[in-house]
C-alpha cells in the first residue's frame, strides 16, 4: 500500500474531497482571500443554526459557576473576582463542541452527494463526525494516531476510538507519526469520500454558533456581552470559530483568550514522548505550531487562524487542569474533562484580576468517563514513570512530573508574547520563498496576525536581513 506517494497528489485529492478550489483563493505572493473562503460555505447563520438544531447540536446551557467565583474572590483583592460562567458543550450529542464542527461538514458532504466522510482526529471530532454521519446516513472512516511502537494507547485516545466505533465508524488506529496525513489522502483518494478535515471552512463555520450563543445568552440573562471569553486552544478552530461568532453577534469588545496546556519539551511525533502526556489535545504541542503556521494543516489554506482573533494566549500546567477538574466536580457538581478544562484552569486565575461586576465565560466542557477521567490519565502517567505529586507549577515538568496544586492560590498562568508568535509566523511564511512581500501581502499578514502593518513591515525587514 503506497500511502506516502499519495502526498504527491495532495492538491488534486484535497480539491476533489472538499469541493474547494483552494488555489483560486490565492492572493498576492503570500496571502489568500480568507473571508471569501469562509463565505464559500454558503450557509447563513440561520441555516447553520437550523441544521444543528434538527440534530440536537448546540443550544447548550450557559451556567454560572457561583461557587468557583466565590472561591476566586476569597483570594482576590477587594472588589476583584469576575463572575465566571461555563458553556456546557458536553451537552452536545457526542459530548463536545466538535459536534458543531462536524454538523456542517457532514451536512455539506450529504448535500454534495459524497458517499461518506473521512476524519483524521485524536478522537472527539471523529466521534462527532460518526454521530452526524449516523444521523445523516453517511459512512464514516476515522483515522486516529493511537499507539506508540509498543501498541500502548493513552486511555483517553482509546476511549475516543471506542466512541467512534460505538457510533458506527470504521476506525483506523495508527502508530505515532505525521504520515497519518498521507494515510488520510490515500483513503480519500481510494474511497472518494468527503474530507471532513477540522480545517475546512465548513468545520470552522460550524463553531461560530458557539460564540453567537454565548453572546445572545449572556445578553438575555445579564443584559450585556461578556468581558472575556476563554478558549482552550490547540488547532485553532475552537478559538477562531468562537471569536467569529461573538463578533457576528455584536460582541466586538469581548477579549478573546486562548489557553493551552504546557507540554514544552515533548515532541509530538516522538515514539518515546507520545504517551508521556496526559492531554491528547488542547496543548502547546498543537497550539504553538498551529498559531505560528496554520497552513501546516491537512488542507491548503487553513480556515482556523488563531492569531487572527487571539487577544492573549496563556499556558497552564497539566496539574493545574487536574486540580480545576476536581474542583469543578466537587464544588460545582459537574464531572467534566479534564479535556476541555484547560480554559477553566486559566479562567479562575484571570478572573482574579477582573472586577467583580465583570463577566468571564469559559467556552467549553467535554464529557468524561472511562479513559478520559483524571484517574485514568494519572494511572497511566504513574505506570510510565511520570511522578505525580502535590505541588505548584514550579515543580511542573512535562513528561516527568505532574504537580497538582492543593489550593486555588497556587494556580497560575504563563502569558505567551503574541509578538513573538507573530514573528515566528512571519518567519515560517517567508521560509524558502524569494518572492517580494507586496503591499497586499502586508495587509493580509496584518489581518491574519491582528496587528499593525508597521509591525509586519518592520519584522519582514528584520527577517530578510537575517536578524
Amino acid at each position: 500500500m503506497q500511502i506516502v506517494e499519495a502526498l504527491s497528489r495532495r492538491q488534486e485529492i484535497l480539491k476533489a474531497s472538499t469541493g474547494l478550489d483552494y488555489a483560486s483563493f490565492s492572493r498576492g505572493n503570500y496571502g489568500f482571500a480568507y473571508e471569501e473562503l469562509m463565505n464559500s460555505v454558503g450557509y447563513s447563520l440561520a441555516e447553520i443554526v437550523k441544521l444543528q438544531a434538527e440534530l440536537g447540536v448546540g443550544n447548550t446551557p450557559l451556567v454560572e459557576l457561583k461557587n468557583l467565583t466565590q472561591l476566586v474572590r476569597k483570594s482576590a483583592k477587594k472588589g476583584k473576582g469576575a463572575r465566571i460562567f461555563l458553556k456546557d458543550e458536553a451537552a452536545n450529542p457526542s459530548g463536545s463542541y466538535k459536534d458543531r464542527r462536524a454538523s456542517v461538514a457532514v451536512f455539506q458532504a450529504k448535500v454534495k452527494g459524497y458517499p461518506g466522510i473521512v476524519a483524521a482526529t485524536s478522537g472527539n471530532y471523529g466521534a462527532a463526525v460518526a454521530c452526524q454521519g449516523a444521523k445523516r446516513g453517511l459512512d464514516v472512516i476515522v483515522i486516529q494516531e493511537t499507539f506508540d511502537s509498543n501498541q500502548l494507547g493513552q486511555p483517553e485516545i482509546l476511549e475516543k476510538g471506542r466512541a467512534c466505533a460505538g457510533l458506527g465508524a470504521e476506525v483506523l488506529q495508527l502508530t505515532v507519526g505525521p504520515e497519518l496525513f498521507a494515510m488520510c489522502l490515500f483513503t480519500l483518494e481510494s474511497t472518494g469520500f468527503f474530507n471532513g478535515s477540522l480545517y475546512t471552512p465548513y468545520a470552522v463555520v460550524g463553531v461560530e454558533t458557539l460564540g453567537y450563543e454565548i453572546a445572545e445568552q449572556m445578553k438575555k440573562q445579564e443584559g450585556r456581552y461578556p468581558d472575556m471569553v476563554v478558549c482552550t486552544h490547540a488547532g485553532g478552530g475552537n478559538l477562531a470559530g468562537t471569536a467569529r461568532g461573538l463578533k457576528n453577534a455584536g460582541a466586538t469588545s469581548t477579549e478573546i483568550v486562548g489557553v493551552s496546556v504546557n507540554l514544552a519539551g515533548l515532541h509530538m511525533a516522538s515514539d518515546k514522548d507520545f504517551n508521556r502526556k496526559s492531554f491528547t489535545t488542547g496543548h502547546t504541542g498543537f497550539g504553538i505550531p498551529f498559531a505560528t503556521w496554520p497552513d501546516r494543516s491537512d488542507v491548503l489554506y487553513n480556515a482556523a487562524r488563531p492569531l487572527r482573533y487571539m487577544d492573549s494566549y496563556y499556558t497552564v500546567t497539566q496539574g493545574e487542569v487536574f486540580f480545576i477538574t476536581e474542583a469543578l466536580a466537587k464544588i460545582e457538581g459537574m464531572e467534566r474533562g479534564p479535556a476541555g478544562n484547560t480554559s477553566l484552569a486559566a479562567a479562575v486565575v484571570l478572573a482574579k484580576e477582573l472586577d467583580q461586576d465583570q463577566i468571564l465565560v469559559v467556552q467549553e466542557t467535554e464529557y468524561t468517563g472511562a479513559g478520559k477521567h483524571p484517574t485514568a490519565q494519572l494511572e497511566l502517567a504513574r505506570n510510565l514513570g511520570v511522578r505525580v505529586i502535590q505541588g505548584d507549577r514550579s515543580h511542573d515538568a512535562p513528561g516527568s512530573v505532574i504537580a497538582i496544586p492543593k489550593s486555588m492560590e497556587e494556580l497560575g498562568v504563563t502569558p505567551l508574547l503574541l509578538d513573538k508568535l507573530r514573528r515566528s509566523y512571519l518567519k515560517n511564511a517567508l521560509q524558502g520563498k524569494d518572492a517580494p512581500v507586496l503591499p497586499e501581502d502586508v495587509r493580509f499578514f496584518a489581518q491574519d496576525l491582528k496587528c499593525e502593518e508597521s509591525f509586519i513591515q518592520k519584522t519582514v525587514e528584520e527577517l530578510k536581513k537575517g536578524e
Binding site: L174, E179, F322, A376
Partner: protein
C-alpha cells in the same frame, strides 16, 4: 466451545497491518520514531471461514470495506477504565468546601 485462538466467519476481530517499514518513514519523523514501523489496527467482521491468532485474516468493516492483515484479537475488549483514587486529588474537594464555608481547615467545619 471455540478456543480464544480461533475466530470464525462474522466474528468481531481486530487485525494489524504494516503501512510503512522504518526505512520508508518520512524524513521529518524524529529519530526514535524512525526506527519503528508505521502500523495500523482496524476491527471488523471476519470475512473468511476461520482464522487463527497470528495468521492472515480478511475482515469487512462496519462500512463494508475490506482489509487484510494479521489477526491480533478476537472479540477485542476495551482496556481503558477509571484509574485508582489519586490521593493528590482527593483532598481538594474537602479543602475547597472548607474555604467556602469560611473555616480555616475542614476539621473545624
Amino acid at each position: 466451545m471455540r478456543g480464544l485462538q480461533k475466530a470464525l466467519r462474522q466474528d468481531w476481530v481486530e487485525i494489524e497491518l504494516l503501512l510503512l517499514e522504518p526505512s520508508s518513514r518520512l524524513a521529518s519523523v524524529p529519530d526514535d520514531t524512525k526506527k519503528t514501523p508505521l502500523t495500523m489496527r482496524v476491527a471488523g467482521f471476519l470475512d473468511q471461514e476461520e482464522a487463527q491468532i497470528g495468521s492472515e485474516a480478511t475482515i469487512l468493516t462496519p462500512i463494508r470495506r475490506s482489509w487484510t492483515g494479521t489477526l491480533v484479537e478476537i472479540n477485542p475488549r476495551p482496556e481503558h477504565r477509571f484509574g485508582p483514587v489519586v490521593s493528590e486529588l482527593q483532598g481538594i474537594g474537602p479543602a475547597l468546601r472548607a474555604v467556602l464555608k469560611g473555616c480555616d481547615n475542614d476539621a473545624d467545619c
